[in-house]
Amino acid sequence: MTSTAGLHFKTYCMLLIMIVFAPLGNVMLGKGMKNIGAAATWAPSELPHVASRVFMSGYIWLGVASLLTFFVAYMLILSWADFSYVQPASSVALLVVALLGYFYLGERISRLHWAGIVVICLGVFVVGNTPPRTTEVH
C-alpha cells in the first residue's frame, strides 16, 4: 500500500483505534486511582503500599490494556506518518475523555472548562488537515 489513498486509509484505521482506546484507558486509570485515594499523602515510606494497591486494581489493568492497544496502533502509524501529524489528529480523544468523565464518572465540569475543551479541539481541527508525511522516505 504505497498509494496516497492506501496511505490515508490505513492511517485513518489506526487513528480510529487510537481515538477509542486512549480515552477508555485514561478513564479506567482515573477511576482506579480515585478508588485508591489522593497522592497528597504519599510519603516515600507509603509508596510500596500504594504501589501494591495500584497493581491490585482491576480498573488500572483494564486501563493499561486499553492504553497498550492504543500504543501498538500508535507505534505502527508512526512508522509512516509524521509525529507532529499523528499527535494532533489523535486528539479527538480529548473530547471523548471529557464526555466519558462527565457521563460515566459523573465529574463536574464548569462552562469555562467545557469552553476550554472545545477551544482545544478547535485548535486540533486547525492543525488536522496537514499531509501525513513531510519528510523524505529513505
Binding site: M1, P23, S84, V97, L100, E107, H113, G116, V124, T135
Partner: protein
C-alpha cells in the same frame, strides 16, 4: 503546585518519549504487512534500538506521573491539560526530527494553548 509539577512531567517526559519512539520506528521503516506475526516481528526489531528503550523509559515516567495526578484531579481536567503535548510535539518534531511545521499548525498549537488556559481557569 504538586499537580502542576506532575502535569509538567506528564507532558515533557511523555512528549520526549514519543519523539524517541518515533525516531526508532522511522529507523525500522514503514510498516506494510499487518499480519499478527509480522507486527510482532516489527515490534521485536524496534525493541533492539536504544532510542526505543529511552523512549519507553520516559513514557513510563510520564505514565506514573499521570497515575499520581489522576489520584488528585479529575480525568476531564487532567487529559485536556495534557493537550500541551501538541505544543511540545510540534516543537520537538521540528527540533529533533526535522519535520516541517507549517504556520497553520503553529496557529493550531497556539489555539490549543489558549484552550488549556481556559480549562485551567475553569477548574473551580
Amino acid at each position: 503546585m504538586r499537580e502542576a509539577l506532575l502535569l509538567f512531567l506528564v507532558v515533557v517526559s511523555g512528549t520526549g518519549g514519543e519523539i524517541c519512539v518515533t525516531r526508532a520506528m522511522k529507523h525500522v521503516g514503514e510498516v506494510k504487512d499487518f499480519r499478527p506475526l509480522a507486527v510482532v516481528r516489527v515490534i521485536l526489531r524496534a525493541m533492539k534500538l536504544p532510542w526505543m528503550w529511552i523512549g519507553i523509559s520516559m513514557m513510563a515516567l510520564a505514565f506514573f506521573s499521570l497515575l499520581a495526578v489522576l489520584s488528585i484531579e479529575n480525568v476531564s481536567f487532567v487529559v485536556p491539560v495534557t493537550a500541551l503535548n501538541y505544543a511540545a510535539g510540534a516543537l520537538g518534531g521540528k527540533l529533533f526530527l526535522g519535520e516541517r511545521v507549517t504556520p497553520r499548525r503553529w496557529a493550531g498549537v497556539l489555539i490549543v494553548c489558549i484552550g488549556v488556559t481556559l480549562v485551567w481557569l475553569g477548574k473551580r
